[in-house]
């Protein structure tokens, strides 16, 4: 009998001790824990510093996606109306967020580092239509010193589609 009481007391002391320590609970949504650098959240279509879109409409992300969430239609760049370096850009770019499993394959497959998965995980919609994110919703805003697309440029400068890239460091 004493052993039983002893054990129960021992357990109780553990829980009481824990009751006195600071809780580890984070009070979401008032307090949001920052996510890790590699976190795979909402997608962004990146731009170069000069404002040109990185996406060249190659559809590799669409081919790599296990969930068939990405739809791409490409079109021709001209120097009067240039969206991205090289000959090709994405005229239509849509991601169905309901299908997306946030695996990051699109980011791995992209040859220009155009599509990246950012930090936002607070995505909700009220109907299926609004779950399809179009290009305007995915493109990041133009940086300081950059111009919005389409741009009018001198011919012969922006001919290389695949930029020089570094291996991911983070």
């Amino acid at each position: 009998m004493a052993g039983i009481i002893g054990e129960i007391l021992r357990g109780l002391s553990t829980t009481l001790h824990m009751a006195a320590t600071k809780p580890v609970t984070i009070q979401y949504p008032e307090v949001k824990r920052p996510v890790r650098p590699r976190f795979k959240g909402r997608h962004h279509l990146m731009r170069y510093d000069n404002g040109m879109e990185k996406c060249i409409g190659c559809s590799l992300c669409s081919a790599a996606c296990p969930a068939d969430a990405i739809f791409v239609e490409a079109a021709e760049n001209t120097d009067e109306e240039r969206y991205s370096p090289g000959e090709r850009y994405a005229r239509v770019y849509e991601i169905n967020m309901l299908r997306c499993i946030f695996c990051g394959y699109c980011e791995d497959a992209c040859p220009t580092e155009a599509i990246v998965l950012g930090d936002n995980y607070e995505l909700s919609f009220t109907d299926r239509r609004s779950s399809i994110y179009a290009k305007e919703m995915l493109l990041v805003p133009v940086d300081e010193g950059g111009k919005p697309t389409p741009q009018k440029v001198e011919p012969g400068i922006y001919t290389r589609s695949i930029p020089v890239m570094q291996d991911p460091k983070d």
Binding site: A63, R91, E94
Partner: protein, 847 residues
């Protein structure tokens, strides 16, 4: 046929002597990688990708016997270097090693070399995903590069060759397939190599660039994305596309094609055709197709397509429901009774023609095929029998091409006839003027326009004892040595085929020509056997099918329509073709017949109609066409149909149902089954039989894209050739006297591939090749009449009736016979047969 045994990668194979190692390996399922080799062209051994180690048995020089090892196996002598499998024919006892270390290293090195100059274009290149270079690099190439990027060769990119093909010179791996295709296969060397070594590039010598009707085929066989079509540029990736089988509707060859479709965002999620690819059918089009078919499908997705039935109320055409329109039509047809007059064009499928014909016949009305070419009943009696194939024709065959500019009327047949001639066939070209086929002809026969039938009868005359009288115009021909030689060659050949076209003929002259062709075949005993017979180069895809189903053209359509109380016009535009109909109010005015037009667009005839019924294009439904060789082929739905739309056969069927007839209104297959049971030639045919396929050679479009190109494999049906109907006999055709006029010129209709047809004009990318309406005059006549090159002129028919407002540009050539004006069809100039005209400069259009 001597057979040779050899061993490739451990597998033994027995092939006929002279087979190249690449092909021998294919036969046992071993894929030797190639770039420059193509099974339809002569090998050159340029790219060195097919390097293999070859060992041959050592032969003792003195005895001629194979030297044996101790264990009895033959002593093998392997070459010191790797040899190309594509240029080496097999020999007895050969051992070929494609997977040895040396061969693998060789292949890896070749790929590495090819990639040194290749630009990093994969993400933006149209070929990515169906690219032989990519596939072979994955299989045989190195994983890492040893080459400095900055030393890559920079050449021009995105160079338009004409407005149909783009060339990217950086991507070119200099395999030469395109140049050799143009040179060897189609004999139209408008592209060629320029410069040497790393600077070697493709240039075009023609203006407009790449001016060949077969240019699209080079994009199929190009192993990289150097040659791509403007039609498909950046439209989609190959893995995103769905494909559906169909038949091209632009000429009577009936090339097997495949449409690639995808859902498109800009049109709100509709399924849209992205491109057309050829489908392999070695009996019809092999693995090629011409540019008209490849780039001329846009009419099916034109915004001008009719979508709703229209009914004339208070003088204006207003939209109506199907119920309204069809009830109205049925009511008026009922009233018309045997006064129903149906005009159908050759664009309709067998099922459509059958239903419309059945409807007309049941009411006792008259059915007429809209056309100016005759002889379809004769081709059914003496045409090609099942098993015939142009590819099998060679030395023992004579091919007579009469009254046809085959390159313009049916390019793929031009190609096949040319290739047959190059294989040794006796090619007799009988035409009033020089055409592109002349270069391959063994015999050339010139006859005056209007005397086609006479020319052939002259040939019969030289062969047979009976010598019936010939018209004056051909009297000289009978004595000409060329004609005699041609007739002799024709008669002596074991097999003989006649292709007759519509060069300068109207209905009567065409019918006479067909009869005389049949006479020639009968006289020389060339009927009823494989690779013998009569082929008509029709003007539309299913004219032969229409003839099989009992539709016939009439010589004087306006006269024939006089007694009609109701006109049912489908896939034909008489008012658009001949302004006379408009001017004299022969169609559709209130006092005249009740006019129903069933068409894709609001044509000139439709504007006069009382009821206009829209129909589905051939890409939205299934059906079957009968080609000029009498091969029945199926086409399948490619894009979903529009809501509330019907196919031609369904519309006719619904009208018939309202009249109490038992007609099929839903399924094309059932309609075809009925058709087959009622038409003797079609007995035993069904959609299932039309969908049967056989293994074809060369193997194309599978995992080894590099071998045959990106042509699609045929898995939906190669079609069935119809058997001959009852045999006709020798009969004297009614020869129409078409003499040269005393004053004025003789205008004769000819066919041009790129015309102003309503199924071609919506394809804006071809507009560079479609000229303004023109006629061709003999340069001396033009000088006499003081007409210069490029002047705007008008043709005035001698028998009255003006074609005011119809003007054309004059072009002058010296090879046009004197006193002749060549008038291309489908340009708005209503010359239906040889017509006497006078030419004058066009009146100035006053502002």
């Amino acid at each position: 046929m001597k057979m040779v045994n050899l061993t490739i990668d451990g597998k033994t194979v027995t092939v006929p002597e002279g087979t190249l190692i690449v092909n021998a390996a294919k036969k046992v399922g071993i894929d030797i990688p190639v770039f420059c080799y193509h099974p339809k062209m002569e090998p050159v051994g340029m790219c060195r990708m097919c390097l293999v180690e070859i060992g041959r048995p050592v032969i003792d020089r003195t005895t001629g016997q194979v030297v044996r090892e101790d264990d009895g196996s033959p002593k093998m002598q392997f070459g010191p270097k790797l040899e190309t499998a594509c240029t080496t024919p097999v020999s007895e006892g050969m051992v070929v090693l494609g997977t040895s270390e040396k061969a693998k290293a060789g292949r890896q090195d070749i790929i590495e070399f090819l990639l040194t100059s290749h630009p990093l274009d994969c993400p933006i290149c149209d070929k990515g995903g169906e690219c032989p270079l990519q596939n072979l690099t994955m299989e045989f190439g190195p994983g890492e590069s040893r080459y400095l990027y900055d030393e890559k060769m920079h050449l021009a990119k995105h160079v338009p060759l004409g407005e149909l093909i783009y060339l990217d010179r950086e991507r070119c791996i200099q395999c030469g397939r395109c140049v050799r295709f143009q040179d060897q296969v189609v004999d139209d060397p408008v592209i060629g190599f320029f410069q040497r070594g790393r600077s070697l590039e493709i240039v075009t010598y023609s203006e407009p660039g790449f001016d060949s009707v077969f240019s699209g085929n080079t994009t199929d066989i190009c192993p990289v994305g150097a040659l791509t079509t403007t039609d498909f540029r950046f439209k989609a990736r190959p893995w995103e596309l769905r494909s559906a089988a169909s038949i091209c509707t632009q000429c009577p060859v009936g090339c097997n094609i495949a449409f690639n479709t995808r859902r498109e965002a800009v049109s709100g999620g509709k399924w849209v055709i992205k491109r057309v690819m050829p489908r392999q059918n070695e009996w019809v089009n092999e693995i090629w197709m011409c540019d008209k078919g490849r780039f001329g499908y846009h009419y099916s997705k034109s915004a001008e397509r009719l979508t709703q039935p229209l009914v004339r109320r208070q003088g204006e055409l207003a939209p109506a429901t199907w119920e309204e329109a069809l009830s109205f039509v049925a009511e008026r047809f009922q009233q018309a009774g045997d006064g129903l007059f149906s005009i159908a064009g050759g664009r309709l499928s067998n099922e459509d023609l059958y239903n419309q014909g059945k409807l007309t016949d049941s009411l006792g009305g008259k059915k007429v095929l809209y056309g100016t070419m005759g002889g379809g009943d004769l081709t059914a009696q003496s045409g090609l029998v099942p098993g015939s194939n142009f590819s099998d024709m060679g030395k023992e065959t004579a091919i007579l091409v009469v009254a046809s500019d085959l390159h313009e009327e049916a390019p793929i047949w031009w190609l096949r006839v040319k290739q047959a001639a190059e294989r040794g066939a006796q090619l007799i070209v009988a035409n009033p003027r020089p055409t592109r086929l002349d270069a391959y002809a063994t015999h050339l026969v010139r006859y005056p326009y209007g005397s086609e039938a006479g020319a052939l009868l002259a040939m019969v005359n030289t062969l047979s004892a009976k010598r019936p009288d010939l018209p004056e115009a051909v009297a000289n021909l009978v004595r000409s040595p060329e004609l005699k030689a041609a007739a002799k060659a024709f008669a002596e050949a074991e097999n003989a085929v006649i292709l007759y076209g519509s060069e300068g003929t109207g209905l009567e002259t065409s019918t006479a020509l067909a009869q005389s062709c049949q006479n020639l075949l009968l006289a020389t005993g060339h009927i009823g056997r494989i690779n013998n017979g009569l082929v008509a180069v029709w003007q539309r895809v299913n004219d032969q099918g229409a003839w099989e189903l009992g539709w016939r053209p009439v010589a004087n359509l306006p006269e024939a329509m006089q007694a009609a109380r109701a006109l049912y016009v489908a896939a034909a535009d008489p008012a658009g073709d001949d302004p006379a109909y408009l001017a004299e109010g022969r169609l559709g005015s209130q006092e005249q017949a009740f006019l129903v037009v069933q068409d894709l667009f609001l044509t000139a005839t439709a504007r006069l109609a009382d009821v206009v019924l829209p129909v589905q294009a051939w890409t939205e439904r299934e059906g079957s066409y009968t080609s000029g060789e009498r091969r029945v082929q199926r086409f399948y739905p490619v894009v979903p149909e529009l809501a509330d739309s019907y196919a031609d056969f369904s519309v006719a069927g619904q009208i018939g149902k309202r009249l109490g007839l038992d007609m099929e209104i839903r399924l094309a297959g059932r309609t075809f089954a009925r058709l087959a049971s009622e038409t003797p030639a079609f007995t035993g045919l069904s959609y299932a039989r039309l969908a049967e396929v056989v293994e074809q050679w060369p193997i194309v479009g599978r995992g080894d894209l590099y071998y045959g190109g990106t042509t699609y494999e045929n898995s939906q049906g190669i079609g069935v050739q119809l058997p001959l109907t009852s045999a006709g006999g020798l009969s004297w055709p009614k020869l129409v006297e078409v003499g040269m006029p005393k004053i004025g010129l003789l205008a004769v209709p000819i066919t041009r591939l790129y015309d102003h047809g309503s199924t071609l004009l919506p394809s804006s990318m071809l507009h560079q090749r479609i000229p303004e309406p023109y006629v061709v005059l003999n340069d001396q006549d033009a000088e006499r009449l003081k007409i210069s090159e490029g002047a705007a002129i008008q043709l005035i028919p001698a028998e009255g009736g003006s074609w005011l407002g119809v003007r054309a540009i004059a072009r002058l050539r010296s090879d046009v016979p004197e006193r002749i004006v060549l008038v291309p069809r489908s340009f708005g100039l209503p010359v239906a047969g040889p017509t006497v005209v006078s030419v004058r400069l066009a009146e100035r259009v006053l502002a």
